[in-house]
Point group: C2
């Protein structure tokens, strides 16, 4: 309800953002709620063009929650903060009765410093190229598969990661107009929102969108469109047309950007709408996520 389209509120030279995490299960292939909370807030700050500096970490714990699990969650949180050179400087812990929540909820808030210009949806313009920094849909499908106890014959893990390197490349490129992390709602949901908010048209090419084979497979089994499946280690970047190839090459040098692709562009046509150009040349509306989103994937 209070969430703005842009993830961080930019306060002069500060960016400030918050998210609560209620993911179920709290441990999943590729991460846990502690890693997710820290990397999620770091990515929100990076997406606004800020250098992440300080985090708060607030826990609501169910009475009887195993100390060993708590240690693992906190250890992951610390590790990710250290990796990103971010300090967890304040926190809070509340305990509620057994049965009043599922094990643990985590809230992180983050402060970043905007050194140059901030990115803003108002800077998007027709001609801008759209880069996605890697393969899509992994987090949402991994969590859903884990929750359903699917015995999957794959190595699918969540993409949950702090994109510190990619964020730095974007900031220093001086050609990025806007950036978002396509979490809830996935790549499709985020692009549909941005089309509405910017009031320009967006066109993306199906054949350009990087998707892992195992994601396609599991998506089919679960009946989920990977385009609307959450990501926790990806950015969608709107970039000055003639600088896009150069930026893409730089992003590909980062471990979290090696599968990056230019997937589309901003156009004058069909303002407020995002269209997917299919492999056979058809056009399909990429709408806001249909119906209720999967609960508790982050």
């Amino acid at each position: 309800m209070l969430r703005k389209l842009e993830d961080s509120a930019v306060l002069e030279k500060l960016a400030f953002t918050t998210d609560s995490y209620v993911i179920k299960p709290i441990f999943f292939p590729g991460g846990n709620i502690g890693k997710l909370a820290v990397t999620g807030t770091i990515n929100d700050l990076l997406a606004s063009g800020a250098v992440p500096k300080y985090l708060s970490l607030s826990l609501i714990i169910e009475e009887g929650f195993e100390f060993e699990k708590l240690e693992k969650v906190l250890e992951s949180a610390r590790t990710e903060a250290n990796l990103a050179s971010v300090e967890i400087v304040t926190g809070d812990t509340k305990v509620v009765g057994h049965g009043e929540l599922d094990e643990i909820f985590v809230n992180t808030a983050g402060i970043g410093i905007i050194e140059g210009e901030s990115f803003s949806i108002s800077k998007i313009k027709p001609g801008d190229k759209i880069i996605v920094t890697g393969t899509i849909g992994e987090h949402g499908l991994c969590v859903l598969a884990t929750r359903k106890g699917l015995e999957l014959d794959t190595n699918l893990v969540s993409d949950c990661a702090a994109l510190t390197g990619v964020g730095k490349i974007a900031r220093e490129s001086n050609c990025v107009h806007y950036m978002r992390d396509p979490t809830r709602g996935g790549l499709g949901g985020i692009l549909a929102e941005i089309a509405i908010e910017s009031n320009f048209g967006i066109e993306i090419y199906e054949e350009k969108i990087p998707i892992k084979e195992e994601v396609r497979g599991i998506a089919e089994i679960l009946g989920i469109d990977p385009l609307y499946s959450a990501n926790e280690g990806k950015f969608v970047i709107f970039v000055e047309n003639n600088k896009a190839e150069t930026l893409l090459e730089k992003i590909k040098t980062d471990r979290y950007g090696k599968d990056a692709e230019i997937i589309g562009e901003v156009v004058h046509d069909h303002p407020g709408k995002c269209l997917l150009i299919t492999r056979i040349g058809g056009k399909r509306l990429v709408d806001l996520p249909p119906g209720e989103l999967l609960p508790r994937i982050c």
Copy 2:
């Protein structure tokens, strides 16, 4: 676990703090979880000597939570932020299944700006006077009485309030060494902590501690010592000895400071211990709160 003794982490000229609120019931005489979350975080910032500027507000809501209640909670949050000239600039909402929590949990994080010197426990020294800015124990007892459905023949309400005026007086006095809001653990718990942390002795006078008659009555019925009952609209202030009377007079001019009293002082004796001098001249150790604290009072 992560909470430091000082409520806000002071980052050069910024103060940053967070708290999660899981109070039960979410509506109580004198406030609700929205008012409590906003005023609690504002008071944390004020206690560090900062001017509160920006808040985040993050909600975890149980599916089926009545929209009317949500509106009331948000309206209270907005009202308190406006009263304190603080902007709620970022937020997040998560929904979890019915039965997974009690209606709503709220997290607020806050940023303040330190204009002069920050207050610090390390500035406390023997001779300092201790001011409490009003009558103690109301919030904890009010919540507990409400929860137990006690039909009380009193007008007892929570003291939940943002102490903007008192905070400003303290900042501008140039004689405050340290300030805390005695929430969980109450006045006694906070003073016991500060004695340990500062490694000085503390002495407080029973006859000087302001307590409302109805608080004494309800405390007796419920078997709770008001000294350990939570406050949500009070500060404990450590102040330069010879400036204490002048500061007290100024604090009394504020609507939330009219019952302020000098209740004791910092001493060289019994380092690490807080003693209560009783009405008849006896000395009683004010220890850390005994046993488990009442859950979910904030």
